[in-house]
Subunit: 389 residues, 4 copies
């Protein structure tokens, strides 16, 4: 038996950086049952890849993910590449018996997600989807409070995830704005996080009404692609945006709760505003990712003259994950969620428990998103299907 887990990562941009940092820090701040080895960094562009591997201490680089995934010495495959690549890499990794940590959104469609689920189920490997926000201490605390009955029966989920990075019409047509690469716009990128949190905290979603909207349909091509396009069609420096710019939904949950989701990249002033409220018969909770060390809590069980929304500073050692960090009042940040994810993932691989959120969770989320897109197209309330894996 090995005393280390060797990791291969595919992708070296934003998520590559966040995951690499997490692999390094997990064992310093937490008791890990086994050593993590940053073995292979895999990507298409040699130069950027080498710089990345060097900076983050990956032992080697590779440009073919197929070869890497097939290697005997790799234990974990980390899929941090664009959405359209997830399905193929995940299935190959599963078939090669690797444990898989796959970034979100899981896939271009629920159908793809289903085939990925089948693969990991057959292979019996540990699988995770990178909905890292489940591991914000404040959100884990929210989960505990709901399970402890502090909210009573749940009536409402009000979730929103707002950004503004493409408000400028000159923002170029990157892969995030192309359906064949990204699947959806904020409907996938942002709503997938919100739907995952709603499922985690409130329960399964039964039906959905949705409207997807686009505000800007043509954008300049990114520098590299502009030249190519120029060769193909003289004078053409722009391309069509083929994903949504915003997605608003109303949903019914299995437990009778009524919910809403609002995702947009056109919410001027909101940078990473992943915000939600949960209302129950006994109490309520609010969370804002831009103030991730805080959780708001209202309890009807407080004395009548002293009820109110309380700002819990989630930095006490009795709070989830916090004992391993700093003293009370010393905040943590965005990157810490990835470290918690690595710690839990590794513990699951070592047999502690089943990982969550896993591919099956990712599938459920994709089913909601696909049903919502259908609702938007057909203008009707759509029941969310639940495929059996």
């Amino acid at each position: 038996m090995t005393d280390a887990l060797k990791i291969a990562i595919v992708g070296y941009k934003f998520m590559g950086k966040a995951h690499s940092n997490a692999y390094h820090k997990a064992g310093r701040f937490f008791e890990l049952p086994i050593e993590l080895v940053l073995q292979t960094a895999c990507g298409r562009h040699r130069d950027g890849l080498a710089e990345f591997a060097n900076r983050w201490g990956w032992r080697e680089t590779a440009t073919s993910w197929r070869e890497v995934v097939a290697r005997d010495d790799i234990d974990i495959v980390d899929i941090s590449s664009p959405t359209d690549t997830h399905r193929e890499i995940a299935i190959a990794a599963a078939e090669a018996g690797k444990h898989i940590l796959c970034e979100k959104p899981m896939s271009l469609s629920a159908a793809d997600a289903l085939s990925m689920c089948a693969a990991v189920k057959r292979a019996g490997v540990t699988h995770a989807i990178g909905h890292n926000y489940r591991r914000v201490p404040a959100i884990r605390l929210a989960k505990q409070m709901i399970e402890d009955g502090k909210l009573g029966e749940l009536y409402h989920w009000r979730g929103t995830y707002l950004q503004d990075w493409i408000v400028d019409p000159n923002f170029p047509l990157t892969w995030h704005l192309q359906q064949e690469r990204a699947g959806y716009g904020p409907h996938g990128d942002l709503n997938s996080h919100s739907v995952d949190l709603a499922r985690y905290l409130v329960g399964e979603i039964k039906s959905v009404q949705c409207t997807l909207t686009q505000f800007i349909d043509q954008r300049p091509l990114p520098d590299e692609e502009r030249e190519a396009a120029f060769a193909a069609a003289v004078g053409q420096g722009t391309g069509h945006v083929t994903v949504d710019d915003a997605s608003f939904m109303v949903v019914e949950f299995d437990n009778g709760a009524l919910g809403s989701f609002e995702a947009s990249r056109f919410a001027t002033g909101r940078k990473n505003y992943n915000y939600f409220e949960i209302y129950g018969s006994k109490g309520s909770l609010c969370f804002n990712l831009e103030r991730l060390n805080e959780l708001q809590f209202f309890s009807r069980e407080d004395p009548p003259t002293a009820q109110g929304f309380k700002t819990i500073l989630v930095t006490e050692s009795s709070h989830p994950y916090i004992a391993n960090w700093w003293p009370p009042g010393h905040s943590i940040g965005y990157e810490h969620t990835f470290i918690h994810q690595v710690v839990d993932f590794v513990r699951c691989i070592q047999g502690a428990t089943e990982m969550e959120p896993n591919f099956f969770d990712g599938l459920r989320t994709m089913e909601v998103l696909d049903a919502a897109a259908l609702s938007s197209r057909e203008g009707r309330r759509v029941d969310v299907p639940r495929a059996e894996v």
Copy 2:
């Protein structure tokens, strides 16, 4: 020509109090072109009515609104009674040539609202709907900023109106919970305010998707009615709730903006949480009625390193209505909106300008609410009709 306007009010509960106070204070804090006379208070229950009239200085009382409305000496009819009475009173008042201030929601249905509009149009009287929140100084300021182009092209409206006064299952079955008296639950009571504000600030609503939900379908009868029910059917102390407990909507505006509305009486901890956000290409605004002296504003035109949501304390003499109140930093409250409403209404009667929001506005709002209810029942996106008056 008369040098005073004589007012008759129908209804003497919550709104009767708010309006009476407003009639008294309007002329003290603002320059009114004419004196207001609190002439007749009209209601069904003699005892409560007399106490009300005495406390608030109404010269006389009456139990028949029909007689009062027909009197020559009355100039203004103030309809502050339950929703199901609005149509009949308003039409009679219009036919008698009275100016009308009618509480919201305007009516039980858009059809009723249409007939009310026809009546005031024929009569040529001044008419107003009591969506008093348009007259919160911060909201007037928001309107100015939008008209001045500070937000640019509008992308999103996110409106919510949350309360929690019936979370307790023992809260009795008052008239607000009965369809024949109230029309809708929070869908009418709260969403009517939000839709009015959205129309005021963003524009007309084109289509709507909606789900209405009910969480508690039986409630104890109120004390007085419980006895009657007991006589009718031995042992029966509860009755059916026949309105919605919550209403969530997604809407498209004529101008392309995508919007949401969420109204509920089951949002534990929210007392009168009328909150909205508006996002545009150049800036954004947020408002919370529970902090009504404040307006949040974000501008993309601020220097890049110094952008952020700004809390404008709307208590400067240069802000709408404020010069007549107190020095900077000295807040006003809920009741002040009614005073502003009276001031503007009287000025309109005196010919200054057309009153807004008026019956035609009320009709548009009822059309959105009815279309939304239809969407909820039929599970499809519904285009909002716009009846011609």
Copy 3:
């Protein structure tokens, strides 16, 4: 025995308006044991006075407060004129057996305050000082919570009162900036409020360290006075500011608590920022006048994982004064504190209880302010004297 109390008010500016409004509204919203009659408005400038009396419904006007105070038919003398006039009017009113409501700060000095106290004590009349903020519902609630032991032993008071209305060097030399009229600058105007609240909530102040500062020592004369000055001394259009622009203090309380006070008119962006924090062994409170419907409360008795500062929306009918106003979540404003003051004052006159804060409270506050000014001049910690009345 009379069935009404006749009021004479001296002064008709900012406080004249606030008090007049309060006399009108008190009996409408609260059960008053007796009718209030707005009898005589008294001031030096005939024109402004007449306009004021007319607008606010004072039955008559007078330019000699001495004559008015001596009249048999007056029951209450309301002193809303500048600080330098308080002593003389109050003593005369007391000697004439009138009940007295005197605006704050009480006087130019503790010595003056002491003579005022002696007068009301001799006369046996009801006397009040207009520290209206004690009657913000949130502050009354704070008082209740402290008395109920929710804070335990008190460790700290951190009070601040910040404004910015004279940051502009061209703001003219009004009477507020002249020692002979105002006594102190913000040290008196603002700190008097804060010291009153600290005494009310925490206890008596034992010693004080203080520094008074002036940022701008010359200012343009106000329009009317500029002409006069011009006549007196050609070319001279400015005058000396003779009060402080800011006052910062550190104090020890009798009960061992350590406290601070910071008052300034040079705190750019703060309009009426009367803010304080109280820390105790079991809990803590924070209050901000610019959000006067809210009170922040932290309790060490909450469960360890769910502790935090709670924002109590002080608009429940179980909260002080609120049952007479509006439903939960419907905020009140600055002016309501004056109405509460009138209600309580009248009830005290009718024999219910002793009024607070009264002249003896005002004296204690003046003693702290004078001791602090001495500390600033002499650069030493000064024990606060407590004169016996």
Copy 4:
């Protein structure tokens, strides 16, 4: 010439962890001109030390700081041990020609600080004091804004640093509560941070008035020491607290600004509430360490109807240090300040610029603290001396 800097750290508790993490991450997120080697971890207790060194990747351990400091191969000495050890280690390290990063507070007294300054000056080494909060991006941004004139002339500093970790009377008598080990209580531990920030942002402090207070003078001995005490004196399980529990100050700055400092460990509910406000003639700033990704800014140069305190989310790539972290809206935490400190310190060693805050800054801060303690004892305003180094 070497291509790496070898570090020896003395101390392995809270600061040992924070610094070790920083040494590891600095080169991954920032471009460092040279490699950092975590060479030697030095401490008194072999077991804890070994666990620390192993977890954090220190190559070796040592129990004699004297030997380590004298070694030729060490380039940097990091002093993370209790305050009473700083002077001796720092002087020895300077004499051995090492660059020094010394934790705060710098020393037990200004006199000690002066001798440390003399030593580093003689040696010509690079020296730093660990006032890491200067390197919160929001605070660097505040500095930039002040230097750019956005605040105009400065009128006020209102700084507070509140914690509550010893409110419980059973909290044991750790070294932080003993004068011979810690020098001061919160007066040193917390006020040293605040004074450093005030000097950084506002300027030098000229005079001080201060009151130090103690609320609990006896506490149980910590477990290890209780046994020893038991041996020495039967039945004795408690010891005297010999430092302050709270310290409140009023200060005058050289530039005429009036300021306040309030530090306490008895502010129930405050965990690490390092909060300050700065007011100037053109604008104002507020900062709260518990929300360290935010900076509040008010500008009198905004349009009159749209002025207000703006919450700048300091996560833009144009903000200090942020380009090396995450996209907008993705927050960082407490530990990042140490990474910035390492990056800047190493760049200074490599000759970029003079390090700040350095030993001379630490001396100035100690002079303020000592003057304040004298003011508290003697009850008088004390001018702050400025020793020449």
